[in-house]
Amino acid sequence: MELVCPAGTPAALRTAVKAGAHTIYCGFADETNARNFPGLNFSRKELGEAIVFAHAHGSKVLVAINTFPRAGGEDIWHRAISDAGSLGADAVILADLGLLAYTAEHHPELRRHLSVQAAAANPDAINFYAEAFDVRRVVLPRVLTVAEIKAINAEIDVETEVFVFGGLCVMAEGRCSLSSYATGRSPNMNGVCSPASHVSYSEEEGDLVARLGGYTIHRTEKERSAPYPTLCKGCFTSREQTGHVFEDPTSLDATRLIPDLAKAGVTALKIEGRQRSRAYVEKVVRAFRGAVEAEAQGRPMPEGLLATLSEGQAVTTGAYAKVWR
């Protein structure tokens, strides 16, 4: 199976290549990608050099241009596609219908992958994208069981890529407005979920208090693990109950399901974390490359190596095994 790994900086990309990534995905330093965080991402020059480095070591580079363009601002997204192609990217990862149409018409030679931001979770949707825009691979949303993925693969003729590790978004990706509601900035259009500019932390009575856009979203006691400041993982009181109303602060780790995902016809395994450091990239990529090699040789899956790198310092198999709330 192909291992698709994150890189938020050129150093992280080189690290991923050295750690055994078959493929690396990254984005330009602007609103065209869904990890538009301060200090992150690639200039044109950096991306060109990174692609040369990756190709020299036998790895591929995918460029995520997976936000939805602003009306009147399409040029920024069109330029990103054109530059990704001319710099030698192996594919672009897109979500917006208009951008898919533009790319299919103006850059037909540039391989197109459908981003998880398109939230295509059934054969009808996927086949539409394949037929209309010659999409060659779809990144499946993190809401499907392994059995559902197998059923989808039986009815489509494009490759599927699934997340196996990292931050866990269980919303309808590309449609979620929780962060937009609290901050006025959209993950889907501005590329920032819970933008750091709207996050504040303070120590209050020994607790770590996190606020997003002025809303208190969790108070964490001194000895407990701190979560990301996202609304979907906030701890709220609803009627008499206080808890994580939408989602527990935990990360995906589907290592043990890799053999099942292979049998379900999945082509590529994706690691989340373009916002993470090269230390994270090295440890996670090495661990998963080991797991992919083990799967290919029929050996058992290694387990439990990466919990300290995970949000909440706890992991889940998410929707894949349907034992999770």
């Binding site: 938020g8 900086t9 050129p10 150093a11 992280a12 690290t15 050295k18 750690a19 055994g20 965080f37 301060p38 200090g39 992150l40 070591h57 933008p195 750091a196 500019s197 996050v199 504040s200 932390y201 303070s202 120590e203 770590l208 001194k222 000895e223 407990r224 693990s225 701190a226 979560p227 990301y228 916002q275 993470r276 450091s277 090269r278 230390a279 994270y280 090295e282 440890k283 490359r289 090699e293 300290t308 790198l309 995970s310 949000e311 909440g312 310092q313």
Partner: protein, 180 residues
Amino acid sequence: MTEDLPEIPQTVQVAMRPLPLRPVSILLSRLARRVAARHPDLFERMGEYGGARFALDMTDQPFVLLLDLGHGDPSIKAMRRARVGAVDATIRGPVSGFLGMMHGTLDGDALFFSRDLAVEGDTSSVLALRNAIDDAELDLAEEIGIGSTSVKLLRQAFGVVERATGLPLNRHQMTMEPYS
């Protein structure tokens, strides 16, 4: 929940207390300017936060380091905790956490999850700094040393201290095995 991060021994912390802050500040500012000269990309990556001021509150040493990025002309001032004034953000954690992030052995988010690292103030500027430093692949020996011989000697000396204390004093070296 905290990781088992090594801390500066108590005796060393006590011995550091009488250190005169002005010479420490001069030496650290020279180091910061040298880093800026050797890594101009680091400041490009900081973007709009290139003039940000950070209080680096290393909890196992007796003073706080005030890092002023100065739009490419940085300075570092050592200050007593009670005297730190207005800054854009404060980053608090043990020396080993800061060194580990700088040298690519520790992940900033994981340190935050485990509560080994705390942030107050402008979170954006902290994120920019963390990402810019991670990309710069700094190495203390290379930043301090002049000429390959002194870098080599420093790296060896740091290696000895690293093995004795667990402090990550050298940049993490990656190999491409076993999958290259």
